[in-house]
Amino acid sequence: MKKTLIVFLLICITSTAQDRETLYLGALTSLTEMLQDSTKISFKKAVMIVENAYLHGTLDTLAFNDEIERLKKFTQAIYKNRSLLYKERDSLEVKKQAVLFSVMKDTIPYFNATGEYKHIPFTYDFEDIWGHKNWENMFVSKLLQTRKGNCHSLPYLYKILAQEIGTEAHLALAPNHVYIKSQNHKDGWYNTELTSGQFPNDAWLMASGYVHLDAVANKIYMEALNDKQSIAMCIIDLAEGYNKAFPANDGAFPMLACEIALRVYPHYINGRILRAETIKKILEQKIEKEGGEFSAKIREKEEYKETFLAMQHEYAVIHHAGYRRMPEEMYLKWLSSLNAEREKYINKEITNRNKSN
């Protein structure tokens, strides 16, 4: 009796695992289609696909869409009732961004047919900021449910909503970090930081101590990313989720995902790192299978040589491009420096303009 139960359970697990695997392949296909222009690029859809794959296909897409729709309508309603100090000819676009920022970061009282309500802003979740304990902490769906997010989900939501209300917001990278770049007629490019709700200048983004000048010059960081590059980011998110879902995988899926993503965004640092680590993982698995030990010595063996050199090359390129690994502690210190050293790092023009309504 007991035995049959175990067998039954095993079948269940393998079958769900297979489903999830299929789900992941399907997700990668859908995202690739967006890159190939065979389907329309939708960042919202891409994010949902990624999260759904990790959640065994249980993402409540209706609720997700409804909430985005509700936020969109809410943003549009505020848009109608607000005026801005900014009077350049692109003031309507700037107003969209200002209102969107407000919806993300401000508490806003509002009335509807059933009474008075308060719109609760989205805040930063200091628990498990990089999703090490629970990968779902990175998700926009988690942010929508709990109103708490991180430097991944917050800018993603901003970008989704920007698309919904018809304005442009670009994702941009800093070490272990994502933020928003927008531009207006008067100031050119400026930054929106959603973890703390500030408009930092570029000096702050370079101040973490982990941004090598070369990394900026090489566009590893601080580049305003276009839509395809953003989808490439989703593909790497997908592959990282896959690694969390199947820790013992053979590396084929993440490898494929990296190749696809790096094709449109060749200098995407997280993609480069994931590819290097995947090559390493595959090599380790191969050596382990053959009873060997992973050390510098394997370079001497003909059968491993090529892969080893490829791996080494990957890491060297990443290093020389200016990438430096940033520990979590330093990251949090850097995030808080934005509030601690406002004088130095706040873009005053944008901040003052946004205050007025």
Binding site: Q183, G188, D202, P266, H267, R272, V317
Partner: protein, 432 residues
């Protein structure tokens, strides 16, 4: 379109020194081409070759597109624009011929290794109406070079090390040095009066620096580069908003050091960035914080020449010709780009005035003058190109505040001296 333009990087135009090659090697294009197909991904040799071919093709296409975008942007900024209008010419003014001679002299330097000393002197002497003697100037620089070499020997510095050579130069600028045979040299101080040479353009000159032992962010680095030539060191001029400073590579060619000669400190990149007016795009497009090659340095000389001409006479065809030359050598020279947009602005003002066009009637009148309209459009394009490259104007107050901030980085013993200098700052300084 705007966003596309702003992301565009520019071809790497780095100096051809071995030290610089570490930077050159890892430009964003290189990263793309460094990406090799993964040998792990279970394919047959044939499939693999095919995949490689496809990838190479794709990359080539990407690069071609990228080049096209960059070129388009640059063409707009650099293009020579012919217009039936011109500003009143100063061709026959007394002294203008000195500038034409200097321009010719600089052009001769273009295709061979040139001496910074000679180039700078040429520019300055045009302003002084050829009244200065090059032999004398040369002698001062050479003697200074010898003094530095002697001091270097006395200190027992490694005569082959580029870091040692730059260190002694740094000490020459910031410390009091005495040689055993009784020669003494005092630090070269920052001159807080008229820092942009508004009242007196010769304030910007190395000649003035040598005569008064005080200079500013324009003359100090140029003297440094002349002395670099004397003692055969390697160092480059580098730009930040409203400012120039020195960058030199270490002996392994792995790391760059920054020397700030106005406040006598070795600066970190973070400190330079703290001025808050350097956008990531400006770094990506190598407007700032990028070591200028010799060619780009010559472009810098052209912009200096043109600015002197403007102070002395004003803008005319000569301004355009020299600026064009500067942009040929250094398409992202922010000074040349700004000079060019100022030139067009002046031209637009002049033409509009002559045609009786003003703000109120522009809408009706301008369409009747297609050439004036075209001129106006060119001016607007010029400003757009500069914005897209990531330029942001740094107000004078902010620049001075940033300079002061750097001064504060010095140690406490120098505080008194610094305060004295700060007191000078309270006196009115003309705005640029």
């Amino acid at each position: 379109m705007q966003s596309m333009v702003a992301q565009v990087g520019l071809p790497n135009i780095m100096p051809k020194t071995p030290q610089a090659s570490t930077f050159q090697q890892y430009g964003s294009q290189n990263i793309m081409s460094n990406s090799r197909p993964n040998p792990m991904y279970g394919m047959s040799q044939q499939q693999r070759n095919k995949a490689i071919m496809a990838e190479v093709e794709m990359r080539q296409k990407q690069e071609a597109e990228y080049r096209k975008r960059v070129q388009g942007l640059l063409n707009e900024a650099v293009s020579h624009f012919s217009t039936p209008y011109s500003l009143p010419s100063y061709h026959n003014e007394k002294g203008a011929s000195n500038y034409r001679k200097a321009f010719k002299r600089l052009e001769e330097m273009e295709n061979k290794p040139f001496s910074v000393r000679e180039a700078v002197f040429t520019v300055e002497n045009a302003f002084y109406e050829q009244e200065r003697d090059y032999g004398e100037f040369e002698k001062v620089i050479q003697e200074t070079g010898n003094f530095i070499k002697q001091k270097m020997q006395e200190f027992g510095y490694n005569p082959k090390s580029n870091v040692a050579k730059n260190l002694i130069l740094f000490q020459f600028f910031s410390d009091t040095l005495r040689t055993k045979n009784g020669l003494k040299h005092l630090p070269l101080k920052y001159d807080f009066q008229d820092i942009y040479g508004k009242k007196d353009w010769s304030k910007m000159f190395v000649t003035k620096l040598l005569e008064s032992s005080t200079g500013q962010c324009h003359s100090l680095p140029l003297l440094y580069l002349m002395l670099v030539e004397e003692i055969e060191a390697v160092a480059h001029l580098s730009r930040s908003p409203n400012h120039t400073y020195i960058k030199f590579p270490d002996d392994n060619g792995m790391k760059w050091h920054n020397v700030e000669l106005t406040s006598h400190i070795l600066t970190t990149n973070a400190l330079i960035l703290q001025n808050g007016y350097i956008k990531a795009e400006a770094i990506q497009n190598k407007l700032y914080m990028h070591p200028l090659s010799k060619r780009e340095l010559l472009a810098h000389m052209y912009t200096d020449l043109v600015m002197g001409y403007e102070k002395k006479f004003g803008s005319d065809k000569f301004t355009e010709e020299v600026t064009q030359k500067a942009l040929q050598l250094h398409p992202t020279s922010i000074t040349a780009l700004l000079n060019k947009s100022n030139y067009y602005t002046e031209m637009v003002q002049h033409v509009f005035e002559q045609l009786g066009i003003n703000k109120e009637n522009a809408r009706q009148k301008l369409p009747n003058h297609p050439e004036a309209l075209e001129l106006y459009r060119t001016m607007v394009k010029q400003y757009k190109a500069i914005d897209a490259l990531g330029y942001k104007k740094m107000p004078d107050e902010m620049y001075q505040e940033w300079l002061r901030n750097m001064q504060q980085q010095r140690n406490n013993q120098e505080q008194k001296e610094m305060k004295k200098q700060l007191n000078k700052l309270t006196k009115p300084i003309s705005k640029l």
